[in-house]
């Protein structure tokens, strides 16, 4: 027996109609149904954070969120953050600091940082940044340059706001 439900998702400011089974996660639907493969798949149990997207502006793991539960809410994936011509300040900072190696964790890492800086405007300490990204694993960089980049983007944001 298969149940299918019609669902409208608001992703990066556009509405998408999908017809899905209730057990499909938002990650399944983003990658397989919509074709937004910037959101990565790995552990599928909210341990690694590579599937992180923003739900109403807040970082969540899309692997452990039923797509049905995202109905009517605003979803932002890495594809919705900046454009090649006008990068998001976090993307600029990651490039400037060389914070990317293999890149697999980076969409999730940038969205994790985006949510954290939006909720904690100002200049967070390195301890605070480390705690904020503790649910998003990077196996290449050793994190130091990622923390540098997030600290830099936070400081830029604080300066722009003042």
């Amino acid at each position: 027996m298969t149940f299918r439900n019609a669902l409208t998702l608001n992703i990066n400011g556009s509405e998408h109609e999908v017809f899905i089974e209730p057990h499909w996660t938002l990650l399944d639907v983003l990658r397989r149904e919509i074709g937004l493969t910037g959101t990565k798949e790995n552990c599928i149990e909210a341990e690694c954070g590579v599937c992180t997207v923003l739900l109403d502006g807040k970082a969540v793991c899309s692997c452990i969120l039923l797509a049905m539960q995202a109905a009517g809410r605003s979803i932002t994936t890495i594809e919705g953050l900046g454009t090649p011509d006008a990068l998001d300040p976090l993307q600029v900072a990651f490039l400037k600091h060389g914070a990317v190696q293999c890149g697999y964790c980076i969409p999730g890492m940038i969205l994790t940082a985006k949510s954290f800086l939006a909720e904690h405007p100002g200049t967070p300490t390195r301890h605070e940044i480390r705690e904020a990204i503790s649910g998003t694993l990077c196996r290449c960089t050793g994190y130091q340059k990622i923390i540098d980049a997030i600290a830099d983007a936070g400081a830029e944001g604080a300066q722009a706001a003042s």
Binding site: M1, T2, F3, N5, E21, P22, H23, T25, I44, E45, A46, G49, T52, L55, K58, A59, V60, C61, I64, L65, L66, M68, Q69, T112, S115, F116, E119, T125, H127, E128, R130, E131, A132, I133, S134, G135, T136
Partner: protein, 338 residues
């Protein structure tokens, strides 16, 4: 993950009707634990009732000077709520000690209470586990039990409750508001979670057809002298080996009232009011704290891999009471315990 029927009730009464009508149904709110358990085949609900849109997201002051927290308030929102930070910092601190930013954004207040144990064998469906399959036996007692309980265990189960938030709620003596087919009732926090006994499959005294609607905090927040210390295998994003919530009311250097709850050591947040009472009227010194810690852990029993927790818990209690008495609560971003 297996397929299931999905429904979204319009109000609390509808949610209660739906769960009462379908014994194969489960509620889903933040989903961070139920979906995990479904992926491991531990839970196989035929029907998920999505309560995440119910209007239970308020954080309000009560007439008696306390706070009422809607069951669907996300853990992160609760932790950063200005009144919670100001009046109940022990709760804000305990929440921040748990999980990751993403999970705190997703997980609900009510769901946090209903987390299942992270015992390795509960998650491994190939092994016996009395909590998952009653009567099958306990694999942890003679197995890898580093994470397991040292207090209040039974021959049937040595699982721990994994929540940090609940350890603070135990100290604050919160009340759990629930609704069911027979109407609403209020459960004292100490009566909400159960010890395993012969029925470890039952984590709580919530009936299967009841729903948590709110958590009520009494007026006393112990905002001056408190701490939440969590000791784990790595600094972030790990369950507690031992955690301690300590709250004191001091008169000068004398303890007027002490409250202590331990996480990571039992099937529920562990309190012992008799031991707490022995601190009342005592000087806030290391000797008093050590004597209370010894009494608190007197009946503790390890199962091999977790033997170390008995001494670790003793020392953590002394450290927590010291931090609370000095008014220097543990930072949850700089994890160094001082």
């Amino acid at each position: 993950m297996i397929n299931f029927q999905y429904s979204r009730p319009g109000d609390i009464a509808d949610a209660v009707r739906q769960i009462a009508a379908d014994p194969r149904a489960k509620f889903i709110a933040g989903g961070t634990n139920i979906l995990d358990l479904m992926k491991y085949d531990v839970e196989r609900p035929a029907h998920l009732i999505d309560i995440s849109r119910l209007p239970l997201t308020g954080v309000e002051e009560t007439a008696s000077g306390g706070m009422r927290i809607g069951a669907l308030v996300p853990n992160s929102d609760l932790s950063y709520h200005p009144l919670i930070e100001a009046r109940y910092p022990i709760l804000a601190s305990a929440i921040r000690a748990g999980a990751s930013q993403q999970l705190r954004n997703m997980a609900s207040t009510g769901g946090n209470l209903l987390q299942r144990t992270r015992c390795l064998y509960f998650y491994d469906v190939a092994t016996p586990c009395n909590k998952r399959a009653p009567g099958s036996g306990c694999s942890a007692i003679d197995g890898i039990n580093r994470q397991n309980a040292i207090l209040g265990t039974s021959d049937a189960c040595i699982a721990t409750h994994p929540s940090d938030m609940c350890v603070a709620l135990a100290v604050l003596e919160a009340k759990v508001h629930v609704a069911g087919p027979a109407g609403e009732r209020v459960i004292a926090f100490e009566d909400f979670h159960r010890l395993p006994g012969k029925t470890p499959e039952r984590d709580t005294n919530l009936a299967p057809n009841e729903i948590i609607t709110a958590i009520e905090l009494p007026a006393r927040g112990f905002a001056k002298n408190y701490t939440y210390i969590k000791i784990r295998d790595r600094h972030s994003y790990a369950f507690a080996l031992v955690s301690v919530a300590a709250a004191l009311e001091l008169e000068g250097k004398t303890i007027k009232e002490a409250r202590l709850a331990l996480g990571g050591v039992a099937h529920k947040p562990w309190r012992n009011k008799e031991v707490e009472a022995t601190l009342n009227g005592q000087p806030a010194t290391r000797e008093s704290f050590r004597s209370a810690a010894d009494a608190l852990l007197r009946d503790a029993k390890g199962f091999g891999h977790n033997d170390f927790k008995v001494e670790l818990a003793r020392r953590a209690v002394v450290r927590a009471l010291t931090q609370a008495a000095q008014g220097t609560p543990q930072s949850q971003s700089n994890k160094k315990i001082v």
